[in-house]
């Protein structure tokens, strides 16, 4: 999505004035996320799926699982690939065509948060070492853009992965053959939760909506795992953070992270 929207002076002034009073346009606390709603199994024909709504931002994640060749130097591990697309119906300035740098960054940041946490035990997704492994694809599509795609996308993908099922294949004559009706749960070791924060002047706000997003000086996405440890991190935007600000962000990512982890656990257990 190219940034053709004009930076609204009035809007930025209004947001900053509110922040000086400790408030935000939608009455949230500075470190508060918008309401999060997760529905799983929304695409029943896929191996797993979820729709995440964070405020008015909405993303659908679909999981496809199929046999694949392993990566050359990782013959004993399954494959995990994460993609993202901002659908043109999500926002008036969303464009069709090959993915722009911001969407590619989105996919890679969400991917890393999940991969680096070791969420999926890829060693349990091998059919025949060095020859045939199981590939899990998480394809994420943004259907409505109201800011903070990083978190929304991550929550949708994580919920979809937790509730997805891996079919059973057996090797016959060097080829994987599907054995019907013998699905198993995806091997999950931890639940990574991403928390995105932005800086406007000296104020740190969590889960910026689209109005706030357009006024940010800098942003950071921090992913924590179920043990409360930090597993992935990405700073973006054209300005910087002080060390104190980064530390504050890491604290928010842990406290908000554990709250959101509970929401996702609830949403994925009722499946």
């Amino acid at each position: 999505m190219t940034n053709t929207s004009i930076i609204d002076k009035l809007k930025r002034t209004k947001i900053l004035d509110l922040l000086k009073e400790g408030k935000r346009i939608d009455d949230r606390a500075l470190d508060e996320h918008r309401p999060l709603v997760i529905d799983t199994g929304v695409i029943p024909h896929a191996n797993g799926s979820a729709r995440a709504r964070l405020g008015d931002t909405e993303i659908v994640s679909g999981i496809k699982v199929q046999p694949d060749r392993p990566f050359p130097d990782m013959g004993d591990k399954g494959i995990f690939i994460c993609t993202a697309e901002i659908l043109p119906l999500a926002h008036p300035s969303a464009e069709t065509g090959p993915p722009q740098p911001d969407v590619i960054e989105l996919a890679r940041v969400v991917d890393r948060g999940i991969r680096e946490s070791g969420m999926i035990d890829l060693s349990q997704m091998v059919l025949e070492k060095d020859k045939s492994v199981i590939g899990l694809f998480a394809d994420n599509v943004v259907t409505d853009h109201d800011g903070n795609l990083f978190d929304t996308c991550s929550y949708a993908a994580v919920a979809a992965i937790i509730t997805s099922k891996i079919p059973k294949w057996e090797m016959k004559d060097d080829k994987p053959v599907l054995i019907e009706n013998q699905e198993s749960d995806t091997p999950i070791t931890t639940i990574p939760i991403s928390v995105t924060m932005g800086r406007i002047d000296d104020f740190i706000i969590a889960d910026p909506n689209i109005d706030e997003w357009e006024c940010l000086d800098a942003r950071i996405t921090i992913t924590t795992n179920s043990d409360g440890n930090i597993v992935a991190l990405q700073k973006g935007g054209n300005n910087g953070f002080t060390l104190d600000q980064i530390v504050k962000c890491s604290e928010i990512s842990i406290s908000s992270g554990s709250k959101i982890r509970e929401i996702i656990k609830q949403a994925t257990q009722s499946n």
Binding site: I6, D8, K9, L10
Partner: protein, 229 residues
């Protein structure tokens, strides 16, 4: 044929309103003898004419309409404003600085800059170019203060009310000053925060329920406990 001539009816695109030979006004077309709606709205037979009042759709500029706009670009000859339409409003520098003047870009920006809100009138609109707007006129020009509230352009007539009754009720009960653009953008001014918020709430209520019966009662109820100001 059902006799619904005298009643307003909800219609969707393609719905046949009547086969009587009436004059075609807004949002209807003739197919053979059938007069059909081209949009989602309320069909309205008035006198010997028929139209459909739309419940959704973009604002299309009409000459003399009052609109609220936001400047989105400046050159040395003109400003372009977002007027919540599929076309941008064009305001010539010469219109503001005088005929035969040659303002510099800085001159233009110091008068009106990107992000400024203006109250303007549609001066001219033809099919070949962007609508021309003017800010010469009473109560037109840069808006210095007030909240911008956006409603659907199709709800503007209801917000104004019969002979201004609805908007006068809201202004009077909250002590606010309200400027309604035909393009659905509305400026609400009030020194007092409470009154300001009440006025904005009332405007939003009209936006949500413009075509519900007893909307006027609902709005009056909102102000009942205020005890008037």
């Amino acid at each position: 044929m059902k006799k619904f001539e005298s009643k307003k009816r909800y219609v969707t695109p393609g719905d046949v309103i009547t086969t009587s030979p009436l004059r075609l006004k807004e949002n209807v077309i003739l197919n053979g003898k059938r007069i059909m709606s081209t949009c989602t709205g309320l069909s309205d037979i008035f006198g010997d004419s028929v139209r459909v009042i739309p419940l959704t759709g973009v604002y299309l500029p009409k000459i003399d309409d009052l609109v609220i706009g936001k400047i989105i670009s400046v050159s040395s000859s003109a400003w372009f404003a977002d007027i919540n339409s599929c076309y941008e409003g064009m305001l010539f520098g010469q219109e503001v600085f005088g005929r035969g003047s040659y303002p510099t870009l800085d001159d233009m920006k110091s008068r009106l800059d990107i992000g400024d809100l203006i109250a303007a009138r549609i001066a001219n609109f033809d099919r070949t170019r962007e609508p021309l707007i003017t800010i010469s006129g009473q109560d037109l020009g840069k808006i210095d203060s007030g909240e911008l509230v956006k409603i659907s352009p199709t709800k503007v007539p209801r917000l104004i009310g019969k002979q201004g009754s609805m908007i006068q009720t809201i202004e009077g009960s909250t002590n606010s000053s309200i400027t309604i653009g035909q393009n659905g953008w509305v400026i609400v001014s009030n020194d007092e925060t409470n009154g300001l918020l009440k006025a904005i709430d009332a405007i939003r209520l009209v936006d949500e329920q413009a075509h519900v019966a007893n909307l006027t009662d609902k709005v009056n109820k909102m102000f009942e406990f205020e005890g008037g100001k």
